[in-house]
């Protein structure tokens, strides 16, 4: 037996063993398993995989939805390079992400810590803090139109109590994006639940030991709770980054789809939408979608590279 023939023989043996190991019942189960999951598989292929691939194809064409598309090669991508509105939208999106993601995590973490305290009526507080996360986005955005109302809105009323004249919020080029960020932070309930679950997974005996060693509240949080929370925080960071690039509904509702004032809230998702459904530039919009996809991919990889190594998986 030569050295080269040995692996193939082993592989052949493994393969025949696997085949023979599968009983007729298992094969039937496998078949019926496929049959029963086929609606989901077909749905996934038809409604997700196919549109994704078609959008990739469209990104190289002049597709309008209404007429046969013409092949443009990299034309759409080249046009994006010199499209100031696209770069403006990308800048606005990054501004939104850089502020809203850390802020959202900080608020969610703060609320999770509070809800982890041993107080009476805890479940009621959890419901109160979680409620905003389950209100439909459009409905809550409409409510926030009232909140941001410069004359009658809650926000400026409260600021007025402290002698501060609130801005015009959604009418102000400086304050429109912060307004959207405040709105997004209001819905931090989902993340709060995840972080709360993480906090409750921290072994109590570690806290007790640290306490015996003389660690105070902040040291215990920093050296015991935080390491256990790091996978959750990484998750929050990555999903926040992805969601930030998909940010659309609130800005659509709060600015009536304009991205105003002065284009200061024109985020990439809205610009993509305008091109696809308002200007009939489906090919161009597809190119925007793929550029965003690549940026999100690179951003996620960067996050994993920079932060991933510091994440503590409980000794795993």
């Amino acid at each position: 037996m030569t050295a080269t023939s040995a692996p193939s023989t082993r592989a052949g043996t493994r393969s025949s063993t696997r085949r023979s190991a599968r009983t007729p019942q298992q094969r039937r189960n496998f078949f019926w398993g496929l049959v029963f999951t086929s609606p989901a598989i077909i749905g996934l292929l038809w409604f997700t995989a196919y549109p994704v691939l078609v959008s990739l194809y469209y990104s190289f064409t002049s597709a309008t939805m209404m007429k046969p598309a013409e092949w443009l090669g990299l034309g759409n991508y080249e046009s994006l390079g010199s499209d100031s509105a696209f770069w403006n939208s990308l800048g606005n999106t990054l501004y939104y992400i850089v502020v809203s993601v850390p802020l959202g995590i900080a608020v969610a973490l703060f609320l999770a810590i509070l809800l982890n305290l041993n107080v009476r009526g805890q479940s009621i507080y959890r419901v109160i803090f979680y409620l905003p996360a389950i209100v439909p986005l459009v409905a809550s955005a409409v409510v926030w139109l009232y909140v941001f109302n410069p004359q009658y809105g809650v926000l400026n009323t409260v600021l007025g109590w402290f002698g501060i004249t609130g801005p015009g919020w959604l009418a102000s080029p400086e304050w429109a994006m912060p307004a959207l960020i405040i709105f997004s932070t209001w819905g931090a309930g989902n993340l709060m639940i995840i972080l709360l679950a993480g906090l409750q997974d921290v072994p109590q005996d570690l806290h007790d030991q640290a306490k015996v060693d003389g660690a105070g509240v902040f040291r215990r949080f920093r050296h015991v709770s935080l390491p256990f929370l790091s996978p959750h925080l990484l998750f929050a960071l990555v999903t926040g980054l992805i969601a930030g690039f998909q940010f659309f509904t609130p800005v659509f509702v709060l600015t009536n789809g304009t991205g105003g004032p002065a284009g200061k809230t024109l985020v990439s998702g809205l610009y993509l939408y305008q091109n696809a459904f308002q200007f009939f530039k489906v090919g161009y919009a597809s190119a925007i979608a793929w550029v965003l996809f690549i940026i999100v991919g690179l951003g996620t990889a960067l996050v994993f590279r920079l932060v991933g190594r510091r994440v503590y998986y409980g000794g795993a």
Binding site: E70, V119, Q151, Y152, G153, V154, G263
Partner: protein
């Protein structure tokens, strides 16, 4: 320990209380007022009447009472003839002015179009070039309908390249000019003397202006917000004598001399009150136009807004007249008025074009249909010979709109990249009003971008 527990509890209770308090303020501090449409048991969709030879599908872009009105209109059409049933499908139009109709576009792209769709007339050139619309010229001719049957701006707007493409059943007269007599009186102005020129608007505005700190609490007018930035420039631009496109040269002209002057006036006005973002005269609710607050001296209004204010703020004394103008470009009050509204069209791939045309013609260009439309939806018709026009003329709320309908000469520029043009105007005018560019720079940028887009589109449709 107990002390620590109390403090934690207090902390969390305080935060929870803050949350509840905020919810309370949301509900109590903001008045969901007035102007709430009457509850109706008519939905926004409708099945066709049973037993008809042919059923057509009509897309309706409206919610609320207008959407319910479209359903009632379709039912009246079914009563008026025995053969055609009408299915009404609610297919909302998104974004300001209803520019985006995803459901319609995807239905057409998926080869499952309705038989009748709706559009803003200025969208037609682009939709025609994309092959979305059916040419109705021969049907108009066969029905004996021509130029004399419609108000002049309507006839201009429904044509493109000398063919007719739509039936404009809603002629939206934009705008009469309204003033708040009480606020005039309170500001030392004659409550029965509205401004005739924009110079007089400035003069009156200076007397009406009131501020609280940096915020404006009473203002003469908000010229950059006459229903969005682009509509504002159209209105006041026409009021200065501007033109927004050159049909012969196939060119948009946002940088027309009088258009620039109009924007300069708007920007100057914004600066004179301390900045557009400092105006805080918005109403507590979303249903009523800000003019209803009594903090705005003068405003152009669309009919539904005026009707709502008259219904809900009964003690408000409002005067109505034609839009102020600015010589020498414009010659008389009302020069800034233009006709907006909605048209119906037949998608090129629709299955029942003959029946679709019957419905459109009935709703938009017959005595019976325009009367039914007025009774159910309540928009003025574009059909000049409609007998219901005398009813509109004599209606106390609609009379100012009748005056505009019968005298306005302008329409928004029907160019093949109209939506792009309007979006560019919105963005660039916003820049100028907020002091981020000069009016001339802003309007030149619009021209450059729109002509670039028009060239690209021209190449695309010729390919």
């Amino acid at each position: 320990m107990p002390a620590a527990r109390i403090s934690r509890r207090r902390a969390i209770q305080a935060l929870g209380g803050l949350g509840l308090g905020a919810m309370g303020l949301l509900n109590g501090g903001c008045t969901f007022t007035k102007g709430t449409p009457p509850i109706t048991d008519v939905g926004l969709d409708k099945k066709p009447a049973p037993g008809r030879k042919t059923n057509i599908e009509v897309y309706s872009v409206w919610g609320g009472t207008v959407g319910a009105g479209m359903v009632k209109l379709a039912a009246l059409f079914e009563k008026a003839q025995p053969d055609i049933g009408v299915r009404v499908v609610y297919a909302p139009a998104g974004m300001g002015g209803g520019a985006v109709q995803q459901k319609l576009f995807t239905a057409i792209a998926g080869d499952n179009p309705p038989d009748v769709g709706q559009l803003v007339p200025a969208q037609a050139p682009q939709w025609v070039e994309l092959g979305i619309m059916t040419d109705l010229t021969d049907r108009y001719r066969a029905a004996g309908l021509g130029k004399d049957d419609f108000f002049a701006p309507i006839w201009d707007g429904i044509q493109y390249k000398d063919r007719v493409w739509q039936m404009q059943w809603d002629a939206d007269p934009n705008f009469p000019f309204f003033w708040n007599k009480q606020l005039f009186e309170d500001s030392g102005l004659d409550p029965d003397k509205p401004p005739r020129t924009l110079d007089e608007v400035d003069e009156y505005s200076a007397k009406i202006l009131k501020k609280s700190g940096a915020n404006v609490t009473k203002i003469g007018m908000i010229p950059w917000d006459s229903y969005g930035y682009s509509n504002s420039l159209f209105t006041w631009g026409f009021g200065f004598g501007a033109e927004f496109y050159d049909q012969e040269r196939e060119e948009v002209t946002p940088d027309h001399e009088y258009s620039v002057k109009a924007l300069e006036w708007i920007v100057k006005y914004a600066r004179s009150v301390g900045g557009a973002d400092r105006v805080t005269v918005t109403p507590p609710g979303l249903q009523l136009h800000p003019f209803s607050t009594g903090n705005i001296g003068m405003s152009p209004l669309v009919a539904p807004n005026y009707r709502d204010i008259k219904t809900n703020v009964k003690d408000m004394k409002i005067g109505a007249t034609l839009l102020p103008f600015e010589p020498p470009g414009a010659k008389a009050p009302g020069a800034g008025a233009w006709i907006g509204g909605w048209g119906m069209f037949i998608p090129a791939t629709a299955r029942h074009k003959d029946e679709a045309w019957e419905f459109m013609r009935w709703a938009g260009a017959t005595d019976e249909g325009t009367k039914a439309q007025w009774d159910t939806i309540g928009f003025p018709p574009g059909y000049r010979k409609a007998s219901v026009l005398s009813e509109i003329r004599d209606d106390p709320v609609m009379a100012p709109f009748y005056d505009v309908l019968t005298t306005a000469t302008n329409i928004r520029p029907p160019v093949p990249v109209a939506d792009f043009y309007f979006t560019q105007l919105d963005e660039q005018i916003s820049n100028a009003v907020l002091g981020l560019s000069t009016p001339l720079q802003a309007l030149r940028t619009v021209k450059k971008n729109v002509m670039g887009e028009w060239d690209r589109f021209r190449k695309e449709v010729q390919a």
